[in-house]
């Protein structure tokens, strides 16, 4: 039963009015007899008392009704408040359900991998496929399809400990020349070789701070620019400069080293300083330890990085073949331009020194298209060991994890005493898929 407040007030007024009227109506006549005065007064007193009782009862009833109305109002207010809370709780539950669904997708029954002992495990990799045609000075043609599949695994072992492994499955063949001077008739060595596996990277790292990290195991030799970037997915030209070929390459230094690498970086204002210092053996010569390092300084706002590199060691496990490498590099990366430059000089025991240099400007035509050129010079110091490559390429990234390239490479082996110059034209289409 619902009551309106104004109705209650009106009802109370009516009841009071009725009570007072009744009192007045029941009052004695004005012709009061003296002997009856006391009796009348007593009677009036009784009636007045009865009226007061009635009024009190009515007041109580009204008060109860008022309380009931107040209770109903309070209930309505609470209900409204509860509705707000319910809506908020619904929203939270929906968010939690979304989150749980996402987590379930990652670690639930559909999870593709679970970590055994690591606190975190990331798995990825890439597939790199290239088809290459080489036409030699004597018009010999050679073609090869390369396939590389690499699995990258990063595990967090503890608060300051990480593990990183790159396991490669490779069908690859380096471009070589079958003529006696090794420059006119191209062929791909091991053309029919099956897929081989290679643990490209396998290091564990202890990180004390940004400035001090210790890496041990197999790591990419921290020299120059391109060898550090290393992987096809990062490179405009998956065929690295001449001084880094063929893999694992010891023309100047090896692509990979097995040992200890201490490295770190520090921001100085807007600029960045970084260093590497390593002691490691190279693949194919594990009995000799090489020591080396790299210092780099980046002017971040200008997009410029300068690097200095050095290595000292022994190239051969069977003979004295000490060597020293000195190198410098400059990287400019700002806006649409990327310009990489590296130079390396070596001093070899019992052999002539080597010189390697390249300059590689690249221009981003759009977010997806990049055009690049590389002038690449190598002099191994040996007879007929001087060669120049001019590389022109176009890179296209239709989506961020797919990289397509078309590359033309003109290789000129320079003439030497009794050896004529020879040109080789190499055409390559390649694609790299990352996951």
């Amino acid at each position: 039963m619902k009551f309106n407040k104004s109705r209650i007030v009106t009802l109370r007024r009516l009841l009071l009015g009725a009570a007072v009227s009744g009192l007045v109506m029941s009052a004695p006549a004005t012709s009061l007899a003296d002997d009856n005065t006391d009796a009348h007064m007593a009677q009036m007193q009784r009636k007045l008392d009865a009226a007061m009782v009635a009024i009190q009862q009515l007041s109580s009833t009204v008060a109860e009704l008022q309380n009931e109305i107040a209770a109903q109002k309070s209930h309505k207010a609470n209900a409204s408040s509860n509705m707000g809370m319910m809506t908020e709780l619904d929203e939270r539950v929906e968010e939690l359900e979304d989150t749980v669904d996402t987590i379930d997708g990652r670690v639930g029954s559909r999870a593709v991998a679970n970590a055994f002992d690591a606190t975190k495990l990331d798995i990825g990799g890439f597939v790199d496929i290239a088809t290459t045609l080489a036409i030699g000075e004597d018009k010999t043609e050679a073609a090869f399809n390369r396939e590389v599949f690499e699995l990258l695994v990063k595990a967090k072992l503890g608060n300051a400990w990480d593990l990183f492994v790159a396991q490669a499955f490779i069908r690859n063949a380096p471009l070589k020349f079958s003529d006696p001077a090794g420059r006119r008739s191209p062929f791909f060595a091991n053309n029919n070789s099956p897929v081989v596996t290679d643990t490209v990277i396998a290091w564990a790292q202890y990180s004390k701070s940004d400035m001090f990290n210790v890496q041990f195991g197999r790591f990419i030799t921290p020299q120059g620019i391109i060898n550090i970037e290393h992987f096809p997915a990062n490179l405009l030209d998956p065929e690295q400069p001449q001084f880094l070929r063929p893999f694992p390459g010891q023309t100047i230094f090896a692509n990979f080293s097995d040992g200890l690498n201490v490295h770190g970086s520090k921001f100085v204002g807007n600029n960045k300083f970084s260093y590497n210092a390593y002691a490691a053996a190279w693949a194919g010569n594990s009995s000799n330890l090489n020591v080396g390092g790299r210092l780099a300084y980046s002017f971040v706002d200008a997009g410029l990085t300068f690097g200095l590199n050095g290595t000292y060691g022994d190239r051969s496990s069977s003979a004295d073949a000490n060597f020293a490498v000195l190198g410098a590099d400059v990287l400019f990366q700002k806006g649409r331009w990327i310009w990489k430059n590296e130079i390396f000089l070596t001093d070899e025991e019992g052999a002539p020194g080597k010189v390697a240099f390249y300059t590689m400007p690249a221009y981003k035509l759009s977010d997806k298209w990049t055009a690049f050129y590389r002038f690449d010079y190598l002099d191994t110091g040996l007879p007929g060991g001087e060669s120049v490559e001019n590389v022109l390429g176009l890179s296209f990234r239709p989506i961020f994890n797919t990289h397509l390239r078309g590359i033309y490479r003109w290789r000129r082996a320079k003439k030497d005493v009794g050896i004529p110059a020879a040109d080789t034209h190499v055409f390559q289409l390649s694609t790299t898929f990352n996951f």
Binding site: K154, D210, N234, K368
Partner: protein, 154 residues
């Protein structure tokens, strides 16, 4: 009669033009939140630069040594796009290329993207090195967090 009609049309066009020009563009305000214990200070530019380095994992610790725990927002969300554009100063393609390179070289992955502002707020409030971006209107609800700086995008 024709003149009056022409004048009316012109007047109408002018009024429409004035209305269009005077209509303000609505700017969306965002706040980069850090844990309340975070003592990093500096001008707005210094703070942005620091957040950029930590988010991109060029630096892994806050100055002072606390390990940074960067959080992103859900991929494609307005907050994440605003953060990439205004704080990182990059395009989406540049950012993807950055993560691709880091993945190959050291196995690093992008910071976790959190869809819910409430869940992000809770993470920031609980972890000393954490930071992330929320709408400025949501910042007050971050218990145990504080605003490092604000930015807006049209």
């Amino acid at each position: 009669m024709q003149n009056i009609f022409l004048k009316l049309v012109l007047a109408g066009a002018l009024v429409l033009l004035a209305f269009t020009l005077s209509t303000p563009t609505i700017a969306q305000e965002y706040a980069v939140m850090v844990n309340a214990q975070n003592g990093f200070s500096g001008d707005d530019n210094v703070k942005r630069t620091q957040i950029k380095r930590l988010y991109l994992k060029e630096q892994k610790n806050w100055p002072g040594g606390v390990e940074a725990i960067p959080f992103g927002r859900e991929e494609g969300s307005a907050a994440q796009q605003a953060f990439i554009q205004k704080v990182l100063g990059m395009t989406g393609t540049e950012l993807e290329a950055h993560w691709l390179k880091l993945k190959q070289m050291s196995g690093e992955t992008p910071p976790r993207g959190v869809g819910s502002a409430r869940i992000l707020a809770r993470q920031i409030g609980k972890k000393p090195g954490a930071f992330g971006v929320v709408q400025a209107s949501e910042a007050a609800a971050v218990e145990g967090g504080k605003v490092l700086f604000e930015f807006s995008i049209n």
